[in-house]
Symmetry: C2
Subunit: 381 residues, 2 copies
C-alpha cells in the first residue's frame, strides 16, 4: 500500500484552498501523506496543521515557533522540489506563489494549481516549465477544472471555451453606484465562499479576466475563442464547445472540495461523504446571459493587457494585488481599483520575451508603485 501514497507539499496551507486541501487529505488517510506545509501569517492555524499532519518540512512568513512537531524549516522553493515529493498544491494567493510553483515544475512535480495569479503573470513560462520538467499542471480552481474535465478523453481541439461567471457581489448594480460600497459588502459573494482576494476580484470580474488569461495558456487556445457568460447560480462551472457544435459542461455544488479532490486524485473519482451534493433532477432554473461590459471596467482592462503579453500581465497581477489590499484596508474606494491598476499599467515599459526573473520583478515593481502612487496621492490631497 505504501507505494500508492501520494506525497504532498501544500503552499498556502492556512488559506481557503489550503485548508480544504487538508480536508481531502483527512478524508483519505491511505492515499496522501503531507511532506511539507508552507503558509503566510496565520500562526495558530498553522501550528494546528503541523501538529495534525506532522510534515517533515515547513515554511512560514509568520513567527517560527518552537515545538512544531519536529518539522524542519526550509525555503518553500526547496520543499516544493524535494525528491520524495509527488505533487505540490499551489494554494497561495497572489504573486508570491510564483517562485515555489516554478521550482516544483522545474523539478518535475505535478502541480495542483489554484494560484491563478501565477499563470496570469507567466502563463507561457509556466507551461514551458511543466513540459520541460515532465510534471502535469492539474487545475484546482473551479472554472479551469471544469474545462479540463470537459476536454477529458476528447481527441479534437475545442472550438470555444465558455467560462461561467456569477457576476459577483454587485451584479445588479451600475458601476457608477458602487463608489460607497464597503469591503464587507464586497466580501459577500453571492454563491461562493472563498478567500478575500479572490472574492474582491470576483466583485470586479478581475477574477474572470484572470481565468480567461489562465485558460488561454492552460488550454493553448486563442483569446478570441474564449467567452464569458453570466450564470448566476454557479452550478455550471464552465463549458467547452467542439467543432461539431456539441457542448460539454461540468456541474457541481458551489464548493471547492470536489475540484480540489479531483486535482489530487485524478483520474480516480472517489465517493467522499464530506463533499456537498447537487440534486441534478431538481436544480430548478439555471440562467445564462451575456455579460454587460459597462458593469465591469476591470474585466475589459485586464483582458486588454492580458492580450498584450510581455510583462504586462505580471504588472496587471501585481497592481491588482495592491489595489485590492488598498480597498480592503479602507484606503481607496471600490470604483478606484480599475483606475489605479490602469495607471500602473500605462506607466510600465513591457519586456517582450521576459524571463521568470523579469516577470517576478515586474509584478513586484507594480505592487510597489501602485502602493506608492496611492501614498503620494494621499499626501498631495
Amino acid at each position: 500500500m505504501e507505494r500508492n501514497i501520494k506525497k504532498l507539499v501544500i503552499l498556502g496551507s492556512t488559506g481557503s484552498v489550503g485548508t480544504q486541501t487538508l480536508e481531502i487529505v483527512r478524508a483519505f488517510p491511505d492515499r496522501f501523506e503531507v511532506v511539507g506545509l508552507c503558509n503566510g501569517y496565520n500562526a495558530p492555524l498553522f501550528k494546528q496543521q503541523l501538529d495534525e499532519f506532522k510534515p517533515k518540512y515547513f515554511n512560514t512568513l509568520g513567527e517560527v515557533e518552537s515545538g512544531y512537531a519536529g518539522a524542519k524549516f526550509a525555503p518553500a522553493e526547496e520543499i516544493a522540489a524535494l525528491p520524495e515529493v509527488d505533487m505540490v498544491v499551489a494554494a497561495t494567493v497572489g504573486c508570491a506563489g510564483m517562485p515555489p510553483a516554478f521550482a516544483a515544475l522545474q523539478a518535475g512535480k505535478d502541480l495542483a494549481f489554484a494560484n491563478k495569479e501565477v499563470i496570469v503573470m507567466a502563463g507561457k513560462l509556466l507551461i514551458e516549465a511543466a513540459r520541460e520538467g515532465g510534471g502535469a499542471i492539474l487545475p484546482a480552481d473551479s472554472e479551469p477544472s471544469a474545462i479540463w474535465q470537459c476536454l477529458e478523453g476528447e481527441e479534437s481541439e475545442p472550438s470555444r471555451l465558455i467560462i461561467t461567471a456569477s457576476g459577483g457581489a454587485f451584479r445588479d448594480r451600475a458601476w457608477d453606484s458602487l463608489g460607497d460600497v464597503t469591503p464587507d459588502q464586497a466580501l459577500k459573494h453571492p454563491t461562493w465562499t472563498m478567500g478575500p482576494k479572490i472574492t474582491i476580484d470576483s466583485a470586479t470580474l478581475m477574477n474572470k479576466a484572470f481565468e480567461v488569461i489562465e485558460s488561454r495558456w492552460m488550454f493553448d487556445i486563442p483569446f478570441d475563442r474564449i467567452d464569458v457568460t453570466i450564470h448566476r447560480q454557479s452550478i455550471v462551472h464552465s463549458m467547452v464547445e467542439f467543432a461539431d457544435g456539441t457542448l460539454k459542461a461540468q456541474l457541481g455544488p458551489t464548493s471547492m472540495l470536489q475540484v480540489i479532490q479531483h486535482a489530487l486524485m485524478y483520474p480516480d473519482r472517489q465517493s467522499n461523504s464530506e463533499l456537498p451534493k447537487l440534486d441534478a433532477v431538481r436544480m430548478g432554473s439555471l440562467t445564462f446571459e451575456e455579460m454587460n461590459p459597462t458593469l465591469y471596467p476591470c474585466f475589459e482592462l485586464a483582458l486588454e493587457y492580458g492580450k498584450k503579453g510581455g510583462t504586462y500581465p505580471a504588472v496587471l497581477a501585481g497592481a491588482d494585488e495592491a489595489a485590492v489590499q488598498l480597498f480592503v484596508d479602507g484606503h481607496i474606494k471600490f470604483t478606484e481599483m480599475p483606475d489605479i491598476v490602469a495607471n500602473t499599467l500605462s506607466a510600465h515599459d513591457s519586456i517582450v520575451e521576459p524571463s521568470i526573473a523579469d516577470t517576478i520583478e515586474a509584478a513586484r515593481w507594480a505592487t510597489e508603485i501602485t502602493l506608492a502612487h496611492h501614498n503620494q496621492s494621499t499626501i498631495l490631497s
Copy 2:
C-alpha cells in the same frame, strides 16, 4: 485516401434518422460511401436516394421498381453483414429493425444505433452480440449519445445517469384531460422534430422509459441509478454524475444531426455548416424539475416490465408499437394506450432467458394480440 472511407449500410434510410444520416454523408463525401440502403414503404424518396448515393445493394418493403441505378436487391440481414461494410446505421423504427441489427453485430460491424425498440426488446442479447462480434455500438439517439459523450475518457464508473425529458406535447395537462386529444395534437412535439412513432412515445413518456431501459443495457448500470428530470428546453441532452458528486452534461441544439454525425465520425469531430448551432453565452433559462409520475402512466408501466426482464420488454415494445398505430389511425383514444399495452403485458407468459428468436416472436405476438384485442373490443362494443 480510399482506405479512410467508411462504408455504410443504412437501415431505414427514408425515415427521420435515415434522411439525416444521408445529410451527413452528403456533407462529407470523402469520408463515407453508402454500400447499402434499406427502407420501408416510401418509394419515391427511396428512389431518389438510390439515384443519388448509388449503393451496390438495397432492400425495401415497398414495391421493387426497375431502374434502381444498378443496385442489387438483397435481404437486409445479408446487406448488413457484407464483408465490405464498416458500419451499419440502425435507423429503423420499431421491432422490425431487430434481425438486421443483430446480423450486423454478429458479423462484427460497428452499429450506429437509433432504433431504441431493439435494445429495449433485447438489451442483454444485443450487448452480448456486440462483445462476441467485436464491433462497437455507437448511440445515434440524443440522450444515450449525451451519456456516452459525458462518459468519454472517464476511468471511473458513473454513480448516476440523469436523462432529460422535454415532457412531451401535453406536459402541462393532467392525464385525465387527454381523452380527446387528436393524433395531430400529439404529433406536435414542443422541442424536437422527429418521426411519428417516437413523437407519440414522447407525448406519453413511453419513449423516456425506453431510454431508461436502453441506458441500463448500453451503459451496464442498475435501474436504481438512472433518473429522469423534466427539462423543457431540450438543450441539455442528458447528464452523468460520478462518485465524487461531479456532473457532466452534454448540450446542443435540438437537432439529431450532431448526434448522428458523432456516431458516424467518432472519435473525430468536424465542423459542418449544415449543423445548427447553440449560443451557449445567451441560452437564457434552462429548467430542471422532478417528473410528476401521475401525468405519465406509460412511463411507470414500461419501467415496471422493463425491470422484470425476460420477454416482457419485447412484449412491451411490440404492444406499444400496435397501440401507437391504433391511436395514430384514429381507432383508440390517447389515454387508452397504457391500458391496452398493460392488457397485453398481463396476458404474457415471460421466458426468463429468451433467445433472439424468442424475443422476436414475443414482440410479434404482442403486436398481433394488441391489434386483435382491439378489433375484438370493437366488434363486441
